[in-house]
């Protein structure tokens, strides 16, 4: 019997069964890579959606997912349909846009926002907030709830944007699966929530329908961080777990867009595993709460 470091090792039971063809190291599947680049170039030139500087690993995964979900055999087959039929584009975009968040995801972030940001916002007569890349809206409603409880919501307008109209439609509805309320409630309480979370929604069948007055000062609009410019000046910008999908060059450009859209001494909130450390804008911000990724523009 073979030994490794003196320990006897039985031969692998599956030895010699199937061996897939070898590829050159480091290049993945070179043909698939060409197909992906052709697809992205085509989608950009035909429709203007630019995914060319997305982080390739997660994008590749999502494209493969679309190929499978459509029952196709290759990325080329997907490209042929997407480029010729806008209905296919819609489904493709949806597959690339959906992220899974939760209300009060990272409760500590909302706790820090209450403690560090809210007191300063109280001094503002009117507060414009941009939630950039809001996906299906869980975190937008979370912020609306927090601001209501702090007595600030009437002074706020929250612009919630996403590149994809289909996820915005869901976000506008403010209806989330009832099954998730247990998690959302726990998050809400950990985030310093002051009431019974069930006061904010009505349960109907499998759905939790959030109270209409939470939508009073929400504006949902289509905006693409990659290709669209600044559209207003904001006191708070939240862009959480959106730029993780971008490569560093695109991240730097989007940070420039956020920076120019933020008033001086305005607040920037990022996702819990994002930071400014590789970005040229790092020195323009002070860390308000380093752990919770809350920053303040200082220059």
């Amino acid at each position: 019997m073979e030994t490794i470091g003196g320990i006897p090792v039985a031969p692998p039971p599956t030895e010699g069964v199937v061996t897939a063809p070898l590829h050159a190291p480091g290049v993945g599947d070179p043909i698939e890579e060409i197909e992906i680049e052709a697809l992205l170039e085509g989608v950009y030139r035909k429709y203007g959606y630019d995914f060319r500087e997305y982080a390739r690993s997660s994008l590749r995964r999502r494209i493969r997912q679309s190929v499978r979900a459509e029952g196709l055999a290759s990325v080329s087959a997907l490209q042929e349909r997407v480029l010729r039929d806008a209905a296919w584009l819609e489904r493709f975009l949806f597959g690339l846009s959906v992220t899974v968040s939760a209300m009060f995801r990272d409760p500590g972030f909302y706790g820090a926002f209450r403690e560090r940001v809210v007191p300063l916002l109280r001094t503002y007569p009117f507060i414009r907030i941009w939630h950039a890349g809001c996906s299906t809206g869980e975190e937008v409603y979370s912020m609306a709830i927090l601001l209501s409880e702090e007595g600030l919501y009437d002074r706020c307008r929250i612009y919630a944007t996403d590149m994809n109209e289909a996820v915005l439609k869901r976000a506008r509805e403010g209806i989330f699966p009832l099954a998730q309320m247990k998690t959302f409630t726990a998050n809400y309480q950990q985030a310093g929530g002051q009431r019974a979370f069930s006061e904010y929604y009505t349960a109907r069948y499998d759905s939790a329908i959030f109270r209409a007055n939470l939508k009073n000062n929400l504006v949902f609009a289509q905006h693409n961080l990659v290709t669209d410019g600044p559209f207003n000046e904001f006191h708070v910008i939240l862009c959480r777990n959106v730029m993780i999908y971008f490569n560093p060059a695109l991240q730097a450009r989007v940070h420039e867009l956020l920076y120019t859209s933020l008033v001086r001494f305005g607040f920037l909130g990022l996702g819990s595993k994002e930071s400014l450390k590789y970005m040229p804008h790092e020195s323009c911000y002070a860390e308000l709460d380093p752990l919770e990724r809350l920053y303040r523009r200082v220059r």
């Binding site: 692998p12 480091g26 997660s58 998690t183 993780i244 730097a252 420039e256 819990s272 590789y278 020195s283």
Partner: protein, 208 residues
């Protein structure tokens, strides 16, 4: 006064050429003990960067990273988005995110869970196989469920090395068995032998 910002040019991240492969490990139920054992056996100058997915709840403060950090000579860290892949470190997928490999760096995603898991083993393994091909070693440890089987198959299909903890002695046998059902592998070893095998893994990898 507007500060001059050289936008569009991120600070240097990692020299991608420095990294030419890695060892990826996936574990579910029973994984803490298994990972502790493996980390204790690996020397501080272990030449391959490590990346680990341990199935975990969607919360941040579990202490898992700190506990594993104390297990051996390698530093255990939870990577942030686009952090460099570094030898001497075991990079633990953070709770609530998928961990993916890019050339020279890690990336995170908030995509839906796979097999109810986020982080998912398949996501890490498949992205490692895409980027580093034959210079990836994949290890499936104890656990329940089929996560990791497709990822290990992808690693082996690209010429990488596939290792599985022996189901007979694993705390939970389902995950190793699912991996063995999905792909031919290079070694099936009990934990102790797996640790020795990894510690002796030559600098230049790939199936020989």
């Amino acid at each position: 006064l507007t500060p001059a910002i050289d936008s569009g040019r991120p600070k240097a991240v990692a020299d991608a050429a420095e990294v030419d492969g890695l060892v990826v490990l996936g574990a579910s139920k029973g994984g803490f003990r298994a990972l502790k054992h493996l980390l204790a056996a690996l020397p501080g100058d272990f030449p391959w960067p490590l990346a680990i997915v341990q199935h975990r709840a969607d919360q941040r403060e579990s202490g898992l990273c700190e506990l594993l950090d104390r297990a051996g000579a390698l530093r255990v860290v939870e990577p942030e988005d686009k952090d460099p892949i570094r030898a001497g470190y075991a990079h633990l997928a953070p709770a609530g995110y998928h961990l993916l490999v890019e050339p020279g760096t890690f990336a995170l995603s908030a995509d839906p869970p796979i097999w109810f898991a986020r982080p998912s083993i398949d996501v890490l393994f498949e992205s490692a196989a895409d980027v580093y091909g034959a210079r990836v070693t994949g290890v499936i440890l104890t656990g329940t469920g089929p996560d990791g089987a497709a990822g290990l198959a992808a690693i082996r299909a690209r010429g990488g090395l596939a290792l599985v903890e022996d189901p007979a002695s694993a705390e939970c046998r389902a995950m190793p068995e699912a991996a063995l059902a999905a792909t031919a592998v290079d070694r099936v070893l009990p934990l102790a032998a797996l640790a020795v095998f990894l510690a002796g893994l030559p600098r230049r990898g790939g199936r020989s």
